[in-house]
Subunit: 108 residues, 4 copies
Amino acid sequence: MLADPVMTQLQAFVAERDWDQFHSPANLAKSISIEAGELLECFQWSDAGDAEETVAELADVLTYCLLLADKLGVDPSDIVLAKLEETKKKYPVETAAGRSTKYDRLSD
Amino acid sequence: MLADPVMTQLQAFVAERDWDQFHSPANLAKSISIEAGELLECFQWSDAGDAEETVAELADVLTYCLLLADKLGVDPSDIVLAKLEETKKKYPVETAAGRSTKYDRLSD
Amino acid sequence: MLADPVMTQLQAFVAERDWDQFHSPANLAKSISIEAGELLECFQWSDAGDAEETVAELADVLTYCLLLADKLGVDPSDIVLAKLEETKKKYPVETAAGRSTKYDRLSD
Amino acid sequence: MLADPVMTQLQAFVAERDWDQFHSPANLAKSISIEAGELLECFQWSDAGDAEETVAELADVLTYCLLLADKLGVDPSDIVLAKLEETKKKYPVETAAGRSTKYDRLSD
């Protein structure tokens, strides 16, 4: 189970402020995109981002991801591992190693 | 600590394929935005997203978030909890409860 | 041709500040995503966005789109019309009318 | 006025398919973010994107931008020029030339 103490604290934070009403899956998905854009902004003009700001923005993306997982009733660790199994098949080591090519072009 | 077994498996997956060379913080930040867009697509025309697809796309966003945390040498749980402390101050229960107003307008 | 007066003014603005050095296609693509996130923020918790802010953020997205078109040496009007021709084939009126279904599922 | 022939064709395309019902400002804002992510994907692992794909994805972002401008009853050229005037003040040539620094840090 991923970070139960974290989820418990996030749930308490949300409940205290009566914010669950705003946390539809759609609104959380929008929030994840919005925070992802703020994270990307750390690298807007350069490949070297400020470490502190990058960590802060990453924390925001992760927070909304955990809230969405909770809303969907899934465990973040479980879904990452499940997806990893699928990805291993799409990108077999033999053909994918050392290449950033997308899976649908691996045999080009 | 957030999901050590997950991080260990992700690291093995990346190492096997010699993909670490592509995982600069900048490239991982771009990847998070890209996957966030695919997650958002589940809700493009409707507030009701297909549950299975939403979970799959959320898993992708989370995966890249974990890879970035690892690359930055931070623990995902720790940074989420640290950010939560800051957010509690920006949104005190007394003024923020039940309102989706952004913190810089809370006293309007 | 799309808004030559606009492109001329944008080019002058960029040249005056010696900013072309930052306007690689990759950096402009990141900028478009970043501004798209700020536009989306107008609708983060509600379907009703503030009109003034929405227009301001849309202007930012459009600005970077025009800069990227210029950098790629293409005319925005031309590429939109060219893409429209392709999209008409993917979404024939007979099957697509009144439905938001993505083209690869239209015959489900 | 920006590309009236383009807007006229886009409006006809949408009307023929009875798609205006899906084009709330919120849905169009989501669509812009989604397409921006697909554009960004051209540069996910490298600063060199495939020219043809980049143009195609940029066309998609622009298309949704034009649809949103139309929905909001504003002219794309006008709002870009209006925003440019504001940006000129935030980034005076004297302090901003040759620097990618954000306006709130220009005098650091």
